[in-house]
Symmetry: C2
Subunit: 208 residues, 2 copies
DNA sequence: TCAGCAAGTCAATGGACGTTGACATGAACC
DNA sequence: GGTTCATGTCAACGTCCATTGACTTGCTGA
């Protein structure tokens, strides 16, 4: 009798009891679900199922949905932060990355979807103001440096968000000429923002 | 007895029975709530209360929450569409408008919040792809004209969305020097996009 | 004045979901 | 081997919310 059961167990991994591991599994599943669906649409039962545990453990380990969310949010914005980009190649690299998002650098795209959804939802927005500033705006500001770094960081962040949203809305990848043009223009935009000096006036488009 | 009751009625407006008016009232309340909270967080009871009617009427007039949402979405993107901007002043005007959003041109900000929330929520995104293209991207594309209008329209739309999100996340108004810098840079960005010719290469930031 | 219908009200239903506490089970320690 | 505590399971409960259908009220036309 025991042998047949042992065979039947193969599909479900017989995970050993391990608080740390299950906690981590829940957190990982939560990060994915919250990024994909946002706080309101994500469902604890699904998170638990994805982690291979019971819902009740969410309460045991995190206290509740909101607490889990905050934890997942923090976990998503850990060390990375102020990645040191090369100033001379930044604009082009970022543009290319965005053009190929979300297929390239999936983890990064993922994290920012998370942040974006969190920042926009009226439920979670209040939890976020500090985090957005500390982990997102402030690193950009410091990296930019120069005059009016704060305002420029804001514009840079906003542009970045916009391109990300655009990619989020259209799922398909950019290709061929369209991709090239996208990269060209976006590179030009980031170049405007990285530059310390003010953009020259009178470039308000051709006077038709 | 009747007189005292008549006096007590003052606060609640004794609206006459009027199908068209109540339908309109519901739609108006729905537009506001959906824009403010998004599809998932908006509650039919609140919409009904704001419109001064019973929840059941939502079903009678619109069929259900999703149908009401679609209706509200269409109603929000009616005639406006391809407003004819002056090409020579577009960049600066738009930058200024965004800097002062949402306090100026509140209606416009409102509508785009609506669209944004709708586009991002996984619940409503499927309902939107066509609408976003027809009422948002396509008018921009036509207005832009020139080479690679499609790709440029995409970048323009994305930037616009980004700035809107930034303003949405921070509620407070830009002021003083910060506002000036914001307008300067954003103007430069839009200028890059309105222009038909490709941006000059090599402006990848100072070589430090 | 009365029938008939549209407009509006009310209470109830059913599902989804976060939360909770009682219970079972495995491992570590005496 | 038995005790004990942490880990994991189970079956609810309560709430929120969209939906529904039966009921009431006011208007209109004969």
């Amino acid at each position: 009798m025991t042998e047949t059961i042992a065979i039947a167990r193969l599909p479900a991994s017989p995970r050993k009891r391990n608080a740390e591991a299950t906690r981590a599994a829940i957190l990982e599943a939560a990060k994915a679900q919250f990024a994909l669906l946002g706080y309101d649409c994500a469902v604890l039962r699904d998170i638990a199922r994805e982690a291979g545990v019971d819902v009740a453990l969410v309460k045991r380990y995190f206290g509740g949905k909101e607490a889990l969310f905050v934890e997942a949010l923090k976990a998503s914005f850990g060390p990375d932060g102020a990645r040191d980009w090369d100033r001379t190649t930044f604009a082009h690299e970022m543009a290319t990355m965005l053009a190929d998002s979300p297929h390239v650098d999936e983890a990064r795209t993922h994290r920012f979807q998370f942040l974006l959804r969190a920042a926009i939802s009226p439920t979670t927005a209040p939890l976020l103001n500090v985090l957005v500033h500390d982990r997102f705006l402030e690193p950009i500001r410091q990296w930019l440096g120069g005059a009016d770094a704060d305002a420029r960081a804001r514009v840079l962040a906003a542009s970045y968000i916009g391109f990300l949203v655009e990619r989020l809305i259209r799922g398909d990848a950019l290709q061929g000429r369209e991709r090239e043009v996208f990269i060209e223009r976006v590179t030009a935009i980031f170049a405007v923002l990285v530059t310390d000096i003010e953009p020259q006036q009178g470039r308000n488009g051709p006077t038709v």
